[in-house]
């Protein structure tokens, strides 16, 4: 099979050959242990809050996942920039994996935030600066993912997605800034987490939450990347096989 495909991308051999490895398995086990710790501290050992009651336990997963949704965006923008610069498929797929996991974490943040808001404020949603920018982040990520799913050649799709991905972090910054002004010019921010002093076991539970959720994030990004990489390899191989078959048909007739 010596056919040259039309791909511009450097197809390297140093990519993964399966969805997991020994290292990712160990990472997975550590992640599960951290999650078990989080359940123990977050749901059993830490006390309920004076004002928020048991709803405060949602914060142990909500705050870390909100932070990591932004980390995912940075990953996408960095991956897109390096892809545009070096044309490496590896970085393009890093950008893809980052955005998809970021979208998941953003959705999780929004859902847990609403579940926390209902008992605490009495409503699911308020037009607070932080909530609104998280919702806008979700929409920006959905736009990026829509470009990723275009039915087009790999190069076309990757290049267009890279431009959108490159602008993701600048957009997030401008949107956050404008939403902040938009709300604060009219009223003071409605919620402030830092105001209430968290200490003792509650602070420790939040700390465990950060570790556990970060591990989940890393595990997911790695696996999403590996699956995306393998998908691209299968596509490329399928194309090679198809071309070879057509050539064989031509030789027979």
């Amino acid at each position: 099979m010596t056919t040259e495909t039309a791909r511009q991308v450097e197809v390297t051999d140093d990519g993964p050959t399966s969805t997991g490895s020994r290292a990712t398995m160990i990472l997975g086990i550590v992640t599960l242990l951290a999650l078990a710790m989080l359940v123990l501290f977050g749901l059993i050992l830490s006390p309920a809050d004076e004002n928020q009651g048991d709803a405060v336990r949602i914060m142990y997963v909500h705050v870390p996942s909100a932070t990591l949704s932004y980390v995912g965006c940075f990953l996408t923008t960095i991956g897109s920039a390096v892809y545009l610069w070096r044309k490496s498929q590896w970085w393009d797929l890093v950008a893809y994996a980052g955005a998809e996991v970021a979208a998941l974490f953003t959705a999780f943040t929004l859902v847990t935030g609403m579940l926390w808001g209902r008992p605490t404020w009495g409503v699911y949603w308020v037009w607070d600066a932080r909530l609104t920018s998280e919702a806008m982040l979700m929409l920006l990520l959905l736009g990026y993912l829509a470009v990723r799913r275009l039915a087009a050649d790999y190069d076309v799709r990757a290049k267009r997605a890279a431009i959108v991905g490159l602008l993701l972090v600048p957009n997030v910054f401008i949107v956050r800034q404008s939403v902040q002004w938009w709300r604060t010019l009219h009223q003071t921010p409605t919620l402030s987490l830092s105001g209430a002093e968290i200490q003792g076991l509650m602070l420790f539970s939040l700390f465990i939450g950060f570790i556990a959720i970060t591990l989940v994030f890393v595990w997911m990004v790695i696996h999403r990347f590996r699956v995306a990489w393998l998908e691209e390899q299968v596509d490329a191989e399928g194309l090679d096989v198809a071309i070879a078959e057509r050539r064989a048909e031509g030789a027979v007739s």
């Binding site: 920006l140 829509a146 267009r160 431009i163 959108v164 401008i174 404008s178 002004w181």
Partner: protein, 230 residues
């Protein structure tokens, strides 16, 4: 050398802008479809919000900019639809014009069309909603900066969505969340101007200027790779 490159880019930009605007003048699509659509949106708002309660007047800045965004979206989609037929994109690529020049030219032609729309919609809200206009300096500055922001971002995302079967649905999804800061900014600046408190509006003009600069830079450097493909 850089001076030479910049001059060539600007010449190409003017060439493309002139071509696009000539095309619009002759085809009359903007005249016969986009402008009537914009006026239709104004009338629909009146149906949705009872005109007797003074809501229209109070909400004029927001309604005005929503109308600009939606009808502008049609103009932007057209800006690339005219290139996708008959392999014009390939011809444009072969023409030897600099991609940055093509980007700036397209942006310029979209901006001119938006300005025409904005003037007409402005007359529309004054006549239909009975809005009293004031704070001219801030109003004009807002219109110029917001138009620059919308057309720079719109042209860049327009080419990202161009030539695809899903372009009509993809462009709004990509563009509208990105333009949210411009909508917030232009609406607040208009409110400030109409309420006679212009000092509240100028920070928004600054924010929208930053936005426009980010997109001009991204467009000048990003248009090359996007044009080369396929």
């Amino acid at each position: 050398m850089t001076r030479h490159v910049v001059m060539a880019m600007l010449t190409d930009a003017l060439l493309i802008a002139r071509k696009d605007l000539k095309l619009e003048l002759r085809s009359r699509v903007a005249m016969n479809q986009v402008i009537p659509f914009a006026l239709l949106v104004l009338v629909l708002f009146a149906f949705a919000l009872d005109p007797d309660r003074g809501l229209l007047q109070k909400a004029t800045p927001g309604l005005y900019w929503i109308a600009v965004l939606f009808s502008g979206l049609l103009a932007m989609q057209r800006s690339f639809a005219v290139e996708s037929a008959d392999g014009v994109t390939d011809a444009l690529r072969l023409s030897g014009l600099s991609p940055s020049g093509i980007y700036l030219g397209k942006t310029l032609s979209v901006a001119v069309q938006l300005l025409v729309l904005e003037v007409l919609l402005g007359v529309g809200v004054v006549v239909l909603y009975g809005t009293t206009v004031g704070g001219w300096l801030l109003l004009v500055a807002t219109i110029l900066v917001a138009t620059a922001a919308i057309s720079t971002a719109g042209t860049l995302f327009g080419v990202v969505a161009s030539g695809l079967r899903v372009r009509e649905t993809l462009l709004p999804l990509l563009l509208l969340p990105v333009l949210a800061p411009v909508l917030i900014g232009s609406t607040r600046a208009f409110e400030a101007a109409l309420n006679g408190t212009p000092s509240e509006g100028w920070p928004w003009v600054g924010l929208m200027s930053v936005f426009a600069v980010v997109y001009v830079v991204a467009g000048i450097f990003g248009f090359g790779p996007l044009m080369e493909e396929s």
